[in-house]
Symmetry: C3
Subunit: 345 residues, 3 copies
């Protein structure tokens, strides 16, 4: 198990240490429950009341909070970011040796860097390239002509169809499917549907994260594109020919219809979705709150909502029925206004 | 094919038999379509009208319905529960021999009970323990330091990351992913997102069922916890550090944001979701109807709703536009009220 | 890379060629960006303005648009359908040789056609039949007593439980799970839930497409049925005993509760869902717009909606609160009406 002195941590995080530099830290904890060999953080004002009672070995916090800290303090400009960095020190990576497991099936003409780890039952298709220190976990299937950048990690049973590229340091979680056929069909006169061949690929940038069982379809003609630094959670659906701008965030269960464009630094909270009669574009810096559905383009950064609140079942049943009569209610108000003109008392 | 005499079934179900105990039952059927060698059930009053015409070999029903039964009757206090029990008698299990298939890759220090079935292309990581009569189907991937309790069944291509425990008799369906990284990132000054290492695990209780392609993330610091008897359907997303109380039910496509707490004996119907600005808690005994979204905590048991009803597209387009002007309508009503005070006629 | 003369394409598509029949076509492109060796299409009036500037080698279009075409024209009755057909000519299939890969595990009594391709790490269970020219990609798991029709393609890591049949020419995308247990439990007096054994199977028709990570549960007693020509996108949940009529379309993230019946030629747009207190039936020819939830049966063809629009967060927060007081607003309007009867001015 990893252990670091506070002195060492302070140096790694460029933090000012107030306290005992020899204190050994063996993990991270929450402010309320961290133990004396764990480091925690105070990042949000709403947790400030927990600081005096913490029993943590050290707390990452801002200068302004240092005086109230009852234990060792690591003073930084951004405690949450520092916590992200320190947390990585305690990550235990699964043991996956470099080289290909005997059960892996790697095409003769695939180029796999000798430092890459190719786990049990992995398949790498013809013409694919796998970069340095890549980790392909058990059961991963890589199609043909794929490019996997250096230091990429692909978790068990994820699937890349052919013609998918993944940039350096990206992570693809278990069961994700990249490059499945886009959903495009042309109806004939009898209403039978004929598939449009999906001839584009998928391009994933660097430092991207793709969640478990998320699906990202290949493009119909051009590629589906996920730019650098995008973070996508679990069970997200990205249709063909979407383009997601750099450093945007798609939380769990988000759905994007084909040809949707998302700007940079957008945040789509859980269960939100984008898609309309025509392709929809969100400009840079748009945030959608959870389960908000957007059917027309947004060209102004900001926070947008459209989700419901809950109520007791009995009350809500009444309200939702009244909602479906809202046009009648508006007519009644208009009729009252006609009978009682503005000037009248 | 299994066959049971009604005498035998009555004894197994602790039912009172009215009719021919030698009648042989070879399967189960629906009240309207069961044949003379099948047993069916009358559990809900809304099916009572179908009873006189049933051609079933026997009907599980309550005392009060026995007189109207035109065939053999198995009288029980709870016909639906008795039907659940009898249905299990006719289940045909897939043949999976005990021991590890030649293609399975089991870590040298993993402890696998000799009665466990380890199917083709299964991987079991270092330090994991697999209990008695466990059935790991084809392509299952078990990470490191996992604990799989006795009589657990894990269906093809499901994935357990490291540090996941599953209690006795639980079932994990195909493609489910347990223990993927929680979705936590800290932004730096340039809006780039840095991953918080997810150092907790996942603890699944006993008699839990987890649906196909469902995802349950590992905790950031502490574990994500699913208590005993919880039943989770397909394509459900459970974020990091959620806690789901015993015997609760999450139907298909439910989504829980990180750090959500669900009480015991809750029911979250299809497509419902929980998550808000702050962690949300539902107390014991809360039911959410389908597609209801809850963004604030609920501390009183009961049924809650917030979902929409459909309408014709033309009518609904008008109504939803009027809804977005509801604040204006309220102002107009207030203005009318001012012009026409309460006392006035 | 495939190449076709326009003469050849015209013959294959039964199109009238205006232009140079010797022109070689090597792929497809979009009207705005196609190059001189690509064929494109003008199918929708909204793209007509792009036609004069196209640099495509040829354009599939209607007679009425031929005069405005600046390049070779292929005149057809339905350009989009013709484009679907021509796109298939340029599809590059992954190389998967006929016969079973050495790592595949095929039950001794399974009947696999010698022309079928059984990829690495595939499992085919006892009593299953695999038809001619079937392509089972890496990591596919087929249970027992399954029937896979001729020319079916099943993509990596998809899972078929036992007793699933798939009709000729159907495609199952990666990670899809067919035949998982339906979600049925009977509570006992203590609120513990006991599984109803799911004894039915799944029957998939011919020419069906099933998206990545979609889940289709087996029936409780009778089969879950997907009729011919149905197209299902990614991350769709189909509960036990659903029946989906021929040539219907389920877009991404749709959810169907158990025992839902969908008619023929229906379209369920992205994120829509069907399910209520009682089983719901949609008649033939019903279209649901995106994220519309239907809880009661629909017996008249047409377009139905019930989804929300977005607004700025601040404005929407106000509106949604007012919505929850809609019953009070209606009372206030009624009170005004009483004080100001119809005849009054």
């Amino acid at each position: 198990m990893a252990a670091y002195s506070l002195e060492d941590l302070a140096a790694r995080l460029d933090a000012r240490l107030v306290g005992d530099g020899r204190c050994r830290i063996r993990g991270v904890g929450a402010l309320a429950s961290a133990t004396t060999d764990e480091v925690t953080h105070l990042s949000s004002a709403s947790y400030r009341s927990l600081l005096p009672a913490t029993r943590a070995g050290a707390v990452l916090l801002r200068e302004a909070d240092a005086a109230a800290c009852p234990t060792n303090a690591l003073i930084v400009a951004d405690p949450y970011l520092a916590f992200a960095r320190v947390s990585q020190l305690f990550l235990v990576e699964d043991g996956l040796p470099a080289g290909a497991h005997a059960s892996a099936v790697v095409a003769a003409d695939a180029l796999v860097d000798p430092t890459a780890c190719v786990g049990p039952h992995v398949v790498v298709g013809a013409g694919s390239r796998v970069g340095a220190r890549v980790r392909l976990h058990a059961g991963v299937s890589i199609g043909e002509r794929c490019t996997i950048g250096d230091d990429v990690e692909i978790r068990p049973n994820a699937v890349l169809y052919s013609d998918v590229s993944v940039g350096a340091r990206s992570v693809v979680h278990a069961g994700a499917v990249l490059g499945g056929d886009g959903f495009g069909f042309a109806p004939d006169g009898a209403g039978r549907l004929h598939a449009i061949a999906q001839l584009g690929g998928v391009r994933i940038g660097e430092d991207v994260s793709i969640g478990s069982n998320t699906t990202i379809d290949r493009g119909a003609i051009e590629d589906t594109v996920i730019e650098d630094g995008v973070k996508i959670d679990n069970l997200v659906q990205v249709g063909h020919n979407c383009r997601i701008g750099a450093h945007s965030v798609l939380c769990g269960c988000v759905g994007l219809a084909g040809s949707t464009t998302i700007g940079r630094h957008c945040v789509l909270a859980g269960g939100s979705g984008v898609g309309g009669e025509h392709p929809v574009t969100l400009c840079d810096g748009v945030t959608l709150t959870a389960t908000t559905i957007v059917t027309t383009s947004i060209d102004k950064p900001g926070v947008y909502s459209g989700s419901m609140l809950h109520n007791t079942h009995t009350r809500w049943k009444r309200i939702v029925l009244l909602l479906h009569g809202l046009d009648e209610l508006v007519k009644r108000v208009r009729s009252l206004e006609k009978r009682l003109p503005e000037g009248r008392r």
